[in-house]
């Protein structure tokens, strides 16, 4: 009995669980990605298509079951007549009755099988539709636990009535309880999930806050204050042309990102101490394809931790606020220094409006890539065919053209993609997320936010993406930009940035007049 039930139960289990997998809900929220593996979260668009497709199949199979049942019913009087009358008259009729019996036995079995399939498909559809809700419900339990330290903090602080000892006690309790909860959860579900739950548990309306700050920043810049512009822009390195032997993949893009980060380190070091002016670097790979056309692959490194607080580095910690608050309508001259650097680098590399461009970025670089992919100004200047980000928060960059492929790589122990809130949603309905578990860091709070992490995950990402049509379409986006036999030159650009106020023309005019008077 168990030998019969075993495979059948297994099949039901697959129908109940496998469709939930592409939603990524359990993999991302509960870190269920096995160590060393990656998992592809299908885009919301694809999930919708799949859910509708399962619904269609369910209706088709149910209709087939009904049709088979109707045939079975319709043959019943025929069989009765043939069996009870004609079979006694002619041997051929007896043979017909026998054949009809065989057919009807099969029809019963087929009808049951069709009904069984229809129910399994319904289970699969429910699994698809409810996986995220179920995961969210379960995660809300974790969020509630993460809210305890915050309640303790605010409660004790309020009760202390401003007493420094009471405030210290509150902070101490928060650190101990919050730390313990975070460490335990990070070990259980991964640092990314623990970070999301601690943000949710804090009750801080991060998204509203971001939008509010974003509006204020944009308003200020719209008035001409606090604008950023590039300084010292130049090409610092041009590599020797190399010919690609095979088609590119995620691994190619991620390796290029790592190289771009290395170039940043090398050229920063070459310029010596950057106390006054620090520089950011981006790589643009100019790809001369075998068919004579040209494409561009932009690699934007992450935050420069050596110049974290620099006011002049286009990718310091300060520029993160710019990257988070940018909107699609922001003119490029009012956007972050890093976004302007990419724009300028592409122009310098010779990219035309019709040349295919792939933007890739690690961490803050990914945010800049997403900001550019949504930016109207940038969209008018270049043909962005795809965006690849690694370890980047992306949920705030909505509105990427559906024709532009969007691929995000994350690791379950990388908390950075969760830092801007927004849960596990990538921000764009057509974006595909590859979630890995490299298990590179085994500490009490695993932290895998590094370019190496994503290089390690990239090969598995290429494999996993190759398993689905949507994944293959994303791979094709990269392969078409850098096909086998292409000649690639890597240009490294650098720039610093400065903040300035754009004064009204009238004011500038009176200043100039005063200058002339002084000169005379």
């Amino acid at each position: 009995m168990s030998g019969v039930l075993g495979p059948e139960l297994r099949e039901w289990g697959i129908f109940a669980m496998a469709p939930a997998r592409p939603t990524g809900a359990f993999a991302i929220d509960f870190g269920t990605v096995p160590e060393g593996a990656v998992m592809v979260r299908a885009s919301s668009v694809q999930q919708k298509i799949d859910t509708e497709e399962i619904h269609r199949l369910e209706k088709e199979v149910a209709a087939v079951g009904e049709a088979v049942g109707e045939v079975w019913l319709a043959t019943a009087p025929l069989v009765a007549e043939v069996q009870h009358f004609w079979a006694h008259v002619a041997p051929e009729a007896a043979a017909a009755a026998h054949a009809l019996d065989d057919a009807r036995d099969l029809l019963v079995s087929l009808g049951v099988s069709a009904a069984d399939d229809a129910v399994k498909l319904r289970v699969a559809r429910t699994s698809y539709e409810q996986a995220e809700h179920l995961a969210e419900t379960l995660v809300s339990g974790f969020n509630a636990v993460h809210s305890v330290p915050y309640r303790l903090l605010f409660g004790t602080a309020l009760h202390s009535g401003g007493n420094p000892l009471g405030l210290m006690l509150a902070a101490g309790s928060f650190a101990v309880v919050g730390g313990s909860v975070f460490v335990a959860d990070a070990a259980l579900r991964g640092t990314g999930a623990a970070t999301r739950s601690t943000i949710a548990g804090s009750g801080v309306p991060l998204e509203n806050l971001r939008q509010g700050i974003g509006r204020a920043v944009r308003y200020r810049r719209g008035m001409g204050f606090g604008l950023v512009r590039l300084t010292d822009f130049r090409t610092v390195e041009t590599s020797e042309p190399r010919t690609t032997s095979g088609p590119a993949g995620v691994a190619t893009v991620v390796t290029s990102l790592k190289s771009a980060g290395d170039h940043d380190d090398v050229h920063d070091a070459a310029r010596g101490p950057q106390n006054q002016v620090s520089l950011a670097h981006v790589d643009v790979q100019v790809v001369d394809r075998p068919d004579g056309t040209r494409s561009y692959l932009v690699s934007i490194p992450g935050t420069d931790f050596d110049n974290l607080t620099s006011r002049t580095d286009p990718n310091s910690a300060r520029s993160i606020l710019d990257a988070v608050t940018v909107s699609p309508e922001t003119p490029l001259e009012e956007a972050s220094g890093l976004m302007q650097l990419v724009d300028r680098a592409l122009r310098e590399a010779g990219a035309g409006v019709d040349d295919p461009v792939i933007l890739s970025g690690f961490s803050q670089g990914g945010m800049a890539a997403m900001g550019l992919a949504t930016n109207r100004d940038f969209g008018r200047r270049y043909s962005v065919r795809g965006v690849v980000t690694t370890g980047s928060p992306t949920s705030t960059y909505r509105g990427v053209d559906p024709a532009t492929k969007v691929l995000h790589l994350r690791d379950i122990d990388d908390p950075v993609p969760s830092l801007t809130g927004g849960g596990i949603a990538p921000g764009n309905e057509h974006a595909v997320v590859v979630v890995g578990n490299t298990g590179r860091n085994k500490g009490p709070v695993p932290m895998t936010h590094s370019a190496e992490t994503y290089i390690e995950a990239a090969a598995a990402a290429d494999r996993e993406l190759g398993r689905t049509a949507e994944g293959r379409a994303h791979l094709r986006m990269i392969q078409e930009a850098v096909p086998a036999g292409s000649t690639v030159r890597t240009l490294t650009f650098e720039a610093s940035s400065e903040t300035y106020d754009r004064r009204p023309a009238a004011e500038r005019g009176s200043e100039q007049a005063a200058g002339h008077r002084r000169d005379s």
Binding site: A74, A96, A99, A103, L107, L110, K120
Partner: protein, 180 residues
Amino acid sequence: MDMVAALGLVAPAAVRGVAISAEHRLAELANGVARRRADLGTAGERWAGTSGTSWESPAAELFRAKVRREAARVLTAEEALTRAEHHLRRAGAQIRQKLEDLAGELDVLEHRVTESAARVAVKAESGIHEAVEAVARGALGIQASEDLRTARGAYAKVVDGSIYRAAVEAIGGARLGGSR
């Protein structure tokens, strides 16, 4: 004679009618089975068509594998229905043939009965004819003797009552005497 005619003329035709009806009914049944087979074929094609789904998942793989298996079983069921259809058509032909044979035998029987009846009728007719003739002959004899008796009576009356008696007697005497 009427009963024989009835047996001879109605029974084979009736049997032939039954044969045609039986074959017709079995053809109807076979056509019904064919229609159901076509319905099943359509359902099977529809089912097989679902294996071309764009859905990608381990569950989808299982679903496709099962649909392929079931498509093969639908074909087996269709084959069984095709067999049943052919058997039914052959059964119709078989039953018609049997009843046609029976009707043929009844035709032969009718022929024999008719011939026997005809022979008996001819014999009876001639017998009757003879009898009638004999009767007729008897009736004529009686009439002739009656007529003779009447003539004799009239003659006696005439002889006894008239002059002619003498003459008759004379004639008679003469004849009697003369001949003696």
